[in-house]
Amino acid sequence: MAEEKKKKEKIPRQPMPAQEAKVRARNFEEVPFGYSSETAMKEAARCIQCKKPACVDGCPVGIDIPGFINLVKEGEFTKSISKIWEMNTLPAVCGRVCPQEIQCEGKCIVGKKGAPVAIGNLERFVADYEREKRLAPAPEKAASTGKRVAVVGSGPSGLTVASDLAAKGHEVTIYEAFHKPGGVLVYGIPEFRLPKDIVFSEVAGLESMGVNLEMNAVIGRTKTLDELFEEGFDAIYVGVGAGLPTFMNIEGENLIGVFSANEYLTRSNLMKAYLFPEYDTPIIKGKNVVTMGGGNVAMDSARTALRLGAERSIIVYRRSREELPARTEEVHHAEEEGVEFHFLTNPTKFMGDEKGRLNSMECLKMELGEPDASGRRRPSAIEGSEFQMEIDLAVIAIGAGANPLLTQSTEDLKLNKWGYIDADEATGKTSKKAVWAGGDIVTGAATVILAMGAGRAAADSMHEYLTLGW
């Protein structure tokens, strides 16, 4: 026994094969290639099958991680996906975009003495294997309850709610404002990090479970929540995302060449402007591109700029490297590809040429003082440190606010002072009867998996309501 344990510890964490940095920085294909079956089984053998698995506590949707990994170890990949599906409808997505280092892998016992088991890579492997082979039986579905549920928004939380409630026998319709389903998974996260076909394939899985999808439905405009109730829906889940771009309110922000990250990424990802003119939506391809902000959206924007042909792609962040909110892996990928980081720098003004096109930016150097409300050290400007940078494209990725389109059209939906929906933390229940909410429209901009976790909790609470009452 002791000997076997020793042997396991000797297997190093299997690296994820990936496109070479210089090559991938110029194409939109996915960065990592994924594990082979052999590598996956080898990596799975590193899991020590803890009796009290801490990794599961670290997973917002509570996947039986040792369970699915054990099946991978045995080469039972199809049984493994069924195990994951018990708790997670979107494993191909989560395996790619979850911040595993602070969730499951962050709690992995193996990780205490070395590299943790590559849970994310294994989840991705199992999901990709199934998408290619299609051998697993569809997840079981309970008998029809005759109850109807409307889900507003087809992002990660909406898809989770839809899947959970459909499995419990409710009739679910998802309403999506855009012409394609997936929400932020499609308009926000770039192809090289999450191929869109994978999202569409996961959505197709929901449709085969009987979930209806209505595209081009802007709830709040095309229909209101009350009208959905009048149509006979018994319960509604609101997962519309944050969806309001934040600008910096500095001079020159309306010049041609200044984008919100939402616009820049939506053009490239949803509208496929990177394939212009094959696709009709254009995008400005800057030579010297600056992205403001330090989160995952900023990394996505800066890396997109490289792929669109930028000579220099620079991240300008007002705090230091330690405070970067982006995932370590994303920062690492960006740096490998040649994205430059200018820390402790804050833009103060955009300037343009006679045609109103951005040509430079003025910045101030910052220094860090005492910690602020967020616990991070507050940056303040160093007087007289103004300097200019020549740039022709600026992407503002400093966060998002609450889009008021739906909430303003729903009078009895209580909001907090920032305009987000006031929902019970444990259940997602709102102030309006039979309406639940979750994801970024409740928490403000967060991660895919946290939105899915909120969806899971809300789906449980909605099921209880649909079977027992409010």
């Binding site: 095309t222 309110n249 309306n254 939402n262 616009e263 509208m271 109103g356």
Partner: protein, 278 residues
Amino acid sequence: MFKIVRREEMAEGTVVLNEIDAPLIAKKAKPGQFVILKANETGERIPLTMADTDPEKGTVTIIYQIVGKSTAIFKTLQVGDGYQDVIGPLGKPTHLEKLGTVVCVGGGTGVAVLHPITRGLKEVGNEVIGIIGARNKELLILEDHMKDASHELNVCTDDGSYGHHGFVTDILKKTLEEKDVKLVVGIGPVPMMCFVAKMTKEYNVKTMVSLNPIMIDGTGMCGGCRVSVGGETKFACVDGPEFDGHEVDFDVLMNRLQSYTNEEQECYDEYCTMQTAK
């Protein structure tokens, strides 16, 4: 798919009308609101303010001028064909109120957007004076519709081929001098709206303009349609499309509309070459 049930060409084929089957939108839409249309899988999302709606029939009508590849593709769609996506109604409806004498000024395809607003203003009891213009007689659209929608209609052409020889602002000036005008609505090319707003400001008459900036989602998410109004940044898709003409920074609007001039030309030229080759 959103089927086209009626199609008309106007202004020598440079302007096209499509009546589209879209019952959900038709039920909800009010004058001044817009839809976003996407013709096919690779298409752009194009915002167009509705020219008419028929809730009973379940249709919305749009009228567009061929200005680039996307509208050229729209033009190829015949009755029975359709748009892959139509989204709406978007934007705030026009505030219709009885004020007294109102003047509705339209230029080019702006007349299509102006028409339902003119009709609405008449229906709530205003004395409506219409002024519409085009470069020449052939390019003038919806004259009869505007005649019905207003109490008095003035027509102008730049070349004098029909009606008053000159600009809509000539007639507007005369009207502002002679009548106690409570509101002016100006919808058309940006320079026209800019001139209308400048003139009415001299007479201190409240003026509404309807803007059509570059847009993607139409729900306030991308900020691409931002305009400067009274020194503040507004989103035309959710705060508009109608704004106080005296507060709009037309230079910023005009400039931002030029964002993709080169790309649009390249794309349109390539499309035209391909069509000719076919």
